[in-house]
Subunit: 235 residues, 2 copies
């Protein structure tokens, strides 16, 4: 079986502020049941789990996204995780080290999932922007930061090889959703992580570009600053 990570949009497109939704939530789900992303206008952080898309907005509220809402950037795949290691009271650095140790290769895209208990999780959610859209770095500076203590939930997202920076955020890109669906977002920090780490490695990376979006077609993406801005905004 071919294992494919599907991506709509290219991360570089967010850097100059191309936040228009270019795929519907319903269409994205045809390519996977698990993933991460954001809504049009960079409206919050998406966690896709078992075929349902959850949004954490900049107020920290969690809701289910409707099939006709639109997405400028998202990654999905069909979950087929394998067990890697059980973590006990691990730091976020320990977690990342465990992922790196168990990945088949740092040159393949992989999905990461850990359902368990977290002593502390810090997340962020970006605020919905309006036209004319600002840059990704300006938007990331306009984010809300949330903290939770002793929370049960699922950490999920992807590891992308450094070679594909520009298309994807190099390294780790992880989101969180609590089991009670009251807390989540883009993970900035975590500690006291206890649970079973699961990984899924992909042979295929399918990049689906918004060819019908004139702003995307006409944008100049040749600046070397793009990858530096992705690093600043996404990590």
């Amino acid at each position: 079986m071919t294992e494919t990570l599907f991506q709509h949009g290219t991360l570089a497109a967010l850097v100059p502020g191309l936040f228009t939704g270019t795929i519907t939530a319903g269409e994205l789900l045809k390519h996977g049941d698990t993933g991460i992303g954001t809504l049009a206008g960079l409206d919050g952080e998406l966690i896709i789990d078992a075929g349902t898309i959850y949004q954490v907005n900049h107020e920290g509220k969690v809701r289910v996204v409707a099939p006709d809402e639109t997405i400028p950037f998202g990654n999905v795949h069909f979950a087929n995780f394998g067990p890697a290691q059980t973590l006990k009271a691990a730091s976020y650095a320990d977690l990342q080290a465990a992922v790196r140790a168990h990945l088949r290769s740092l040159n393949l895209f992989a999905a990461i999932r850990l359902t368990g208990t977290f002593k502390h999780v810090t997340t962020r959610a970006v605020r919905k922007q309006t036209v004319p859209y600002p840059t990704l770095v300006a938007t990331a500076d306009d984010q809300s930061v949330f903290n939770a203590e002793n929370v049960m939930g699922t950490l999920s997202g992807y590891f992308s090889p450094a070679l594909y920076a520009g298309a994807a955020a190099p390294g780790f890109h992880l989101h969180f959703l609590s089991a009670d669906h009251q807390f989540g977002g883009h993970v900035l920090a975590a500690s006291g992580v206890t649970g079973a780490l699961q990984l899924q490695t992909f042979t295929n990376f399918e990049l689906h570009l918004p060819a019908d979006d004139a702003a995307f077609r006409d944008q100049d993406f040749t600046s070397p600053q793009i990858v530096a801005d992705i690093e600043r905004a996404e990590h």
Copy 2:
């Protein structure tokens, strides 16, 4: 209809000398009937046309590749070209300018084909290397260069956005095969180009990585020199 450019391997893997064939010719053809590539050991230049794979070796000989031969790097798609412009006695710079003018976007992958007459074509073909493989730059320096005058044939290959340098050769990557199958290779120069330029733009770029190749999995691709070496070897 979704238009997909399929790629086996990542161009960065050739830079340190990962020339092992990791997909068979027969398997590659399941993903397209048109394309370019090279054989295991960086053995010559491949031109894939109407479902047949032709190899131009370093002696300039053209032959048909068998289904069980293996390929470390190749691009294929199912031909569905549209007309762009008729060129008359165009220089290679004119040809590239015409492609850029007619592409829907410089941010999308596209295929290029021109069947016609060429006053002059200069090609190269790399020589088959043996284990332990040298680097891509050393191999490119060990190439044969061929010239043809007043030749009929087909120029074909791809335009890749600069953003995906590392995965692909940024910009143009064109091969040539004469109508009589006696001349071809990786195009270094052309002049007096007369014929109908055809283009095909892709919404999807499907990157299929050699996950079962241990040398690929273990290679360090983080050096910024990789893209510079691709530029030197492929243009």
